[in-house]
């Protein structure tokens, strides 16, 4: 198993290389010029040309790629064109917020979505099942920014229970930390909660039709034991896949949530960098995020083996 994991890790390197070069190429064909943005309103054409030279933007594309890849190999993600701070520092400042937000959102999604999906499947056709389906459709349909503002209005402005915006690190205390994450995580989780509930229900419906489940009930086992120990374990592979994909999607979806709640996360760092054409930051963030995606996929593959020993790679 360990050898397999190592082999898969090594296999991610070419994937990362392709991602890196594709990102670099994409950025350089999009319109916009950081030199012009830096130069400002009073700049002459000569000023802009000088800045472009200093940033190396006047070099041929292949030279720029070679310089950047050389830096990456040395573990240097570069420096922000605007702030002058190392990209690794900027990512370090933001990664914690996005990681906690994503983790909490996924905990809520799984913690609510899976039980709700199991119950809906068990009570198929009942009002509970129909209510779950209504919730699922609503959850998919609600725009994140709209839900965020509604939650802020109800819980922060009207009730005053939770803060409107911002982020405090764990070191600031358990409640200050949690209180700043509850609304954003809830906002971000609703769509995935609905997705996981639907997927769990669908997967469970198939498993609950199996003979061994009928046998388990016939033997007089308690419904909870049958549902969780026998049915859910066998229905969990598609759910694990969705959770894995969901993690990746949550990182992307965090952009809107981070903006609505003014959270200093990777999503906003990326958007701000794109708006300003801060190439080193965009490239650095996308490289790191793509690495996280690859790792999540690897974890999902490993979980398949754990959940179903018949699976071999």
């Amino acid at each position: 198993m360990l050898a397999e994991i190592l082999r898969r890790l090594m296999a991610t390197l070419p994937v990362m290389a392709v991602v890196a070069i594709a990102v670099f190429a994409l950025l350089h064909v999009t319109p916009g010029d950081p030199a012009v943005i830096i130069a400002g309103d009073y700049a002459t054409t000569d000023d802009i040309a000088r800045i472009r030279t200093r940033l190396g933007l006047d070099q041929p594309f292949t030279t720029q790629v070679a310089i950047w890849v050389g830096r990456i190999v040395r573990g240097d993600l570069g420096t922000s064109i605007f702030s002058g701070l190392p990209v690794s520092t900027l990512i370090g400042q933001r990664a914690g917020t996005t990681a906690w937000l994503t983790l909490f959102a996924m905990l809520i999604s799984v913690g609510v979505g899976v039980p709700v999906g199991v119950v809906a499947a068990w009570r198929r056709g009942s009002w509970i099942d129909r209510a779950v389906m209504v919730f699922a459709v609503s959850g998919f349909s609600m725009p994140t920014f709209w839900l965020g503002f509604i939650l802020v209005y109800v819980f922060a402005i009207t009730a005053g229970w939770l803060p409107v915006q911002g982020y405090l690190p764990v070191a600031s205390g358990a409640w200050p930390f949690l209180s700043h994450l509850i609304l954003p995580a809830l906002t971000l989780s609703v769509a995935y909660m609905a997705l996981i509930a639907r997927m769990t229900r669908a997967s469970m419906l198939g498993v609950l039709e199996e003979d061994y489940i009928r046998t388990a009930f016939a033997k007089g086992l308690a419904p909870r034991g049958v549902l969780i120990r026998h049915a859910l374990k066998n229905a969990s592979l598609p759910v694990v896949t969705i959770v894995g994909i969901g993690f990746a999607l949550l990182i992307g979806g965090a952009v809107v949530t981070e903006s609505v709640f003014a959270l200093p996360g990777l999503g906003r760092l990326t958007v701000d960098a794109i708006v300003r054409r801060d190439y080193p930051v965009i490239q650095g963030v996308l490289l790191v995020v793509s690495g996280v995606y690859v790792l999540i996929n690897l974890v999902v593959d490993v979980l398949y083996v754990v959940l179903d020993p018949r699976i071999r790679y």
Partner: protein, 531 residues
């Protein structure tokens, strides 16, 4: 379409003045200490106020750095770091002596050499600074606290240049930092201003933190603009960047922030209805909108086609579409800020009365061949988007075929720098805006430059304008300057260097426990207290 009348102009100006006066947050018994949480207009990414002209960097620099001279509420230039100065009888030699007790944030004493190096760096970047440099024979320290500036040619507005309030402001830095090339960003943020920048707590895209500079010695005068005593009452100032206006509004209402620099105008009525909140017009000078034709390419390389832009102009229409609330805008038939000393209606008849018939006639006389006119349409800044849509409508009425080119602001910055023809990525018309402080007089006003390749985007080549600007900076008496400014305006509008489409005012919002906010073009944090 509505046209400007004198009565309407006066009414607009009076409304704004009254709103400003009524809303001024009076300084009550000032408390000391505390942290003020401030929502800034933009994300502070660049820390060097000489390297960039970005207003957010200028605002940051007003906390960290000090200036030799300041500009007070009445636009008068007053000494700030300078204790005394003298001018030789022939007006060609200036000597400046620094105040006692000025210290950098690293504890070192401010020396004349620091100021000389800072000015030299600023003179390489700033338009006004470059004009001053071109007239300067020698700038050097005389002793530890005194430096001299010897002119090679007469230059009237020396003190105005040194007290220039808007970007690039001549902020003072230690000589070792000011020695950095003007094309490179400084790496160390050490000023002698009333607040110290806390680099370790700076998170671009989220927050900037400043703490009181304990060694700062303010002038013993009442504060006024960037002049007077900068008495610091706050221990700490935290700037937050909130890209979403609704979030900032909710945070202000909930008391999570204390002061929101520029709320969108459509949020103002709600803020004004909230008992714990107040609004205030900090910059009574306002902001000026521009329609800029590209002088390099047809049809606007033709003077008559450009003059059609003036004939079709209806500032009221632009302001209604772009700003919307009459309380916060006014028509202004002057290329120089209407609140400033050079405001004039000279040569502005075309701006006073829209004449679409004449616009159509001028288009015909220009020999316009029907090729599409590319109007850059910035879609992510509301007032620029509104202005572009009005321009499309008016150009069409005047007989032009219009192609709206939708871009975001960053793409606009790249597009506007292109000198290529419109069908190869270039442009014909763009819209932008400047704070009134940046269009106050000919030495700072980019719209009246006719320097061709050296002029602002659009590159008008009008040698007469350059000659008049040179005469203006060499003039030493105000009536002569006023006369030259009028001549500059006449020429700029006759050649249609650009077309101003009015002025507007941006209120600020704060919680009522914040006192001492001053009128100025940038948010100032000295004199401010939080209860």
């Amino acid at each position: 379409m509505s046209q400007l009348t004198r009565r309407r102009f006066v009414a607009g100006a009076t409304t704004v003045a009254a709103a400003t006066a009524l809303a001024t947050p009076r300084a009550q018994a000032q408390k000391t200490g505390g942290t003020l949480r401030f929502v800034a207009q933009a994300d502070l990414k660049i820390l060097d106020p000489v390297w960039t002209t970005a207003y957010i960097t200028r605002n940051h620099a007003y906390l960290v750095y000090d200036t030799l001279f300041g500009t007070d509420e009445k636009l008068a230039v007053k000494p700030q770091m300078v204790d005394r100065h003298s001018v030789s009888k022939d007006g060609m030699k200036y000597a400046f002596t620094l105040r006692d007790g000025l210290r950098w944030h690293d504890g070192q004493a401010v020396a004349a050499e620091d100021c000389v190096e800072s000015l030299k760096r600023w003179m390489k970047k700033d338009r006004f600074g470059r004009l001053l440099a071109a007239h300067t024979a020698k700038l050097a320290p005389a002793d530890r606290k005194t430096f001299t500036l010897e002119l090679g040619e007469r230059f009237g507005p020396v003190l105005e240049a040194l007290g220039k309030p808007s970007s690039n402001v001549p902020f003072m830095m230690p000589a070792r930092i000011a020695a950095t090339s003007a094309d490179e960003q400084i790496k160390e943020i050490v000023g002698s201003g009333p607040f110290r920048f806390v680099k370790d707590e700076w998170q671009p895209g989220n927050q900037v933190v400043y703490v009181k500079h304990a060694d700062y010695r303010p002038r013993n005068e009442a504060p006024s603009g960037s002049a007077g005593g900068k008495k610091v009452n706050l221990e700490k100032v935290v700037w937050r960047y909130m890209p979403d206006a609704a979030t900032a509004a909710a945070a202000l209402a909930a008391g999570e922030v204390d002061w929101w620099e520029i709320p969108p105008i459509d949020f103002i009525p709600t803020i004004e209805q909230t008992a714990s909140l107040a609004t205030f017009l900090p910059d009574p000078l306002g902001t000026q909108g521009w329609l800029r034709p590209n002088h390099l390419h047809p049809p606007f390389n033709n003077k008559k086609a450009r003059q059609a832009l003036v004939a079709m102009m209806s500032q009221e229409t632009y302001l209604q579409a772009a700003i919307g609330v009459p309380k916060y805008y006014r028509t202004c038939p002057s290329v120089f800020a209407c609140a400033g000393p050079y405001a004039s209606k000279a040569g502005a008849e075309g701006l006073l009365h829209q004449n679409m018939e004449r616009a159509r006639q001028l288009v015909k006389e220009s020999g316009y061949d029907g090729r599409p006119v590319t109007v850059v349409h910035v879609t992510d800044i509301g007032f620029l988007s509104g202005a572009a849509l009005v321009t499309r409508d008016l150009l069409t009425q005047a007989g032009f075929t219009v192609d709206l080119k939708a871009v975001d602001w960053s793409t606009n910055l790249a597009v506007r720098a292109k000198k290529d023809p419109p069908d190869k990525g270039g442009w014909n018309v763009l819209h932008t805006w400047w704070m009134a402080a940046d269009v106050m007089h000919p030495a700072v006003h980019f719209g009246v430059s006719g320097a061709g390749p050296g002029a602002w985007f659009g590159w008008p080549e009008i040698p007469q304008l350059e000659q008049l600007i040179t005469e203006w900076v060499r003039a030493t008496d105000q009536p002569k300057r006023k006369q030259l400014a009028e001549a500059i305006q006449r020429t700029a509008l006759d050649e249609v260097a650009y077309v101003p489409w009015g002025e507007w005012f941006l209120p600020t919002a704060f919680r009522r426990n914040v006192t001492g906010i001053q009128k100025f073009i940038a948010p100032l944090f000295w004199n401010v207290s939080i209860g």
